[in-house]
């Protein structure tokens, strides 16, 4: 087999790309592979020089810990709540923005604000809103007479996950609504006219035409939001630090505690890999079902 000479253009292309590739390797590929590597060792920063190889022991330890499975259950609950609510609210917002009314453009632009706010700013904002002493939520509910005394919102173990999910949903709805709106805009208006002439009132037209047409959009949004929710860390860190009493101790938070508070890098890395693998499997299943239905 003859070896083709590398042309001048190709050589300069390699040269130009090499820098970028090197940076990507350093900041992306290296940490990924390095964390896989250390997940196979018993790494503890309190004894940094002693780092015995333990094989899959870290993984076994994580998977056989009841506390980990409790966290996994909370992650699943949080994700299910968040994704379902994002889907419903984003659909309503998209349908609203699909109508013609004065001020639609301004409203569409305003809608994007929560999405544009940095994650930490969003977290701090909700921390203030939920604050027991001077929070806006207590203020509003007290003034409207729904509650008689200020509540310690994030101190209630039963309310913690829904409240954090609420902050997550607030930030995620805009993007989901825009994605669904794009799908809505692509539905030919003739279909609605045909269904109207066929005798379908507005609600039946929505069920018969809008919902099925939105299905690809739903699957896309569900996939993206599920990935975001499963791995979500910022709000748990900012609002509750896993509390009260472990009520918001999700896997992402547990990874942080294990790694940076317990300084046990080996088990932390193993947990990260388990979470990544679980996300990957879920995405794969969703994409498979998407491909079948499209």
């Amino acid at each position: 087999m003859a070896i083709r000479a590398v042309s001048h253009d190709e050589r300069s292309a390699f040269g130009l790309l090499a820098g970028l590739v090197a940076v990507l390797m350093a900041v992306t590929a290296f940490p990924i592979l390095y964390s896989l590597w250390i997940s196979l060792f018993a790494v503890n920063l309190r004894r940094p020089l002693r780092m015995p190889f333990v094989g899959l022991d870290n993984y076994i330890a994580v998977l056989s810990s009841p506390a980990f499975w409790e966290s996994a259950g909370r992650t699943a609950l949080f994700s299910a709540m968040a994704v379902a609510a994002v889907l419903v609210i984003a659909t309503l917002v998209a349908v609203l923005l699909d109508q013609e009314f004065p001020g639609r453009r301004v409203l569409s632009a305003c809608l994007l604000i929560p999405w544009a706010i940095p994650s930490v700013a969003n977290g701090l904002m909700w921390k203030w809103i939920y604050d027991a002493n001077y929070g806006a939520l207590n203020g509003l509910l007290l003034q409207l007479g729904f509650i008689n005394s200020a509540m310690i919102w994030l101190g209630d173990a039963n309310r913690t996950l829904p409240l954090i999910a609420n902050a997550f949903i607030w930030k995620e709805v805009p993007l989901a609504a825009i994605l669904l709106l794009v799908t809505l805009k692509s539905i030919p208006s003739d279909l609605y006219a045909a269904a109207a002439v066929d005798g379908a009132p507005a609600f039946r037209r929505f069920v018969a035409i809008t919902l099925p047409a939105l299905r690809p959009g739903f699957l896309l949004v569900a996939l993206y939001e599920a990935m975001m929710a499963i791995r979500h860390f910022d709000l748990f860190f900012l609002l509750t630090e896993g509390g009260p009493g472990g009520a918001s101790d999700v896997v992402a938070w547990r990874i942080y505690v294990e790694t940076f508070r317990n300084l046990s890098f080996g088990t932390g890395a193993a947990m990260s890999y388990i979470l990544a693998l679980a996300t990957l499997l879920m995405s794969y299943a969703l994409i498979r079902s998407m491909a079948e239905k499209l």
């Binding site: 045909a194 002439v197 066929d198 379908a200 018969a208 299905r215």
Partner: protein, 358 residues
């Protein structure tokens, strides 16, 4: 069964544009009415107002003796075939056809029977389990017809249903639609910009332009006695020849004058004025007793059954249809006989026909 009446109906859009202005139209029960005109003439808007898809800005629309201005589309007994077919993409052909029946809560057994009957008539029984995306244009068209048919509506509306089909299919579908009309005994309103389609299908044609009616009549009336230049030139292929000239009177008899050309126009009333003379390509014969036309052949275009000649008469180019047996070559002189009865005469200022009836 429904008689449809428009009484001074106007449709104005939010941006101020007027799509239809002061429309008066009476469509008889079980009539096949064709709305014909160029794009933007208001024909589709008129159809959509019957369907209830467009609001009426002014005037009254009646089905039989009921005012339906504010009856929403889904409560009118109307079926419609769209130019885009508008088949529901995620439903099977069967469900597409059945949709209107389901909306009207027709029982499952009856529904199944009616869908099968319609599918049988349209020869699409083997397609019932497919999705619209798996069908050809002609098949989609049939499904769209089937969806409207099963409803057995009082009013059957069609918005350019054949314009996305290829030429041969279009011709055979015309016959099917005509056949459908005789079977269904509903009122048909059909929108098209294709004059040949209108002439083939219609009981009556309504020619529209700029939101107003130009002429209403049977295909023969519209073709033979157009009331103005627009109607005359919109129907017929190739289009009618129009010659600008003057109406003059010689010894009391009217005649058309243009340069060296003089054509007597007996039985035409009125004084001298500028006129437009219309001559259909097929309205020429062999030179005889009557008036004659002399010219020079510019081009000869055989077209199967007959041939078209481009003939230079005076300084005007006329397109004429003659038999194949007329053997001429470019540059040769040629003469034709004219039947003055078949000449169309229009006022040049108003465009209106100067013939008696109109």
């Amino acid at each position: 069964m429904a008689r449809i009446r428009f009484q001074s109906v106007t449709k104005r859009y939010a941006n101020g544009a007027t799509a239809v202005a002061g429309l008066d139209l009476d469509i008889a029960d079980q009539e096949f009415l064709v709305l014909l005109g160029p794009s933007g003439c208001g024909k589709s808007t008129t159809l959509n107002m019957i369907a209830g898809l467009e609001e009426i800005s002014e005037g009254v629309l009646l089905f039989d003796d009921q005012i339906v201005n504010n009856v929403p589309a889904h409560k009118r007994d109307v079926a419609m075939v769209f130019q885009s077919y508008a088949l529901y993409p995620h439903m099977t052909v069967f469900e597409n056809i059945a949709f209107g029946l389901r909306m009207r809560r027709v029982g499952e057994a009856d529904l199944r029977m009616r869908v099968m009957q319609a599918a049988d008539k349209l020869e699409i029984t083997h397609l019932l389990e497919r999705r619209p995306s798996q069908l050809s244009g002609g098949q989609r068209q049939r499904v769209a017809l089937g969806r409207a048919m099963v409803r057995e509506p009082a009013v059957f509306l069609m918005d350019e249903p054949l314009s996305n089909l290829d030429a041969s299919l279009r011709i055979s579908m015309r016959a099917q639609i005509r056949h459908l009309h005789t079977q269904m005994r509903s009122t048909f309103v059909y929108v098209t910009h294709d004059q040949a389609e209108a002439l083939t299908l219609a009981d009556r044609i309504v020619v529209m332009k700029d939101g107003t009616i130009q002429q209403i009549g049977t295909p023969d009336e519209i073709y033979e006695s157009p009331t103005n230049v627009f109607v005359a030139s919109f129907l017929g292929s190739p289009t009618i020849n129009l010659l600008e000239g003057a109406l003059e009177r010689e010894n009391g008899a009217a005649c058309f004058k243009r340069g060296t050309l003089t054509i007597p126009l007996p039985a035409l009333q009125g004084g001298a004025r500028n006129i437009v003379l219309g001559l259909r390509p097929e309205d020429v014969g062999t030179p005889g007793d009557g008036p004659q036309l002399h010219g020079v052949v510019d081009t000869a275009m055989p077209s199967g059954a007959d041939q078209f000649l481009g003939v230079l008469v005076d300084d005007a180019m006329l397109f004429l249809r003659v038999g194949k047996d007329v053997r001429v070559r470019a540059g040769e002189a040629i003469s034709f006989g004219l039947n003055p009865e078949r000449l169309h005469v229009f006022d040049r200022e108003t465009g209106r026909s100067l013939r008696g009836a109109a």
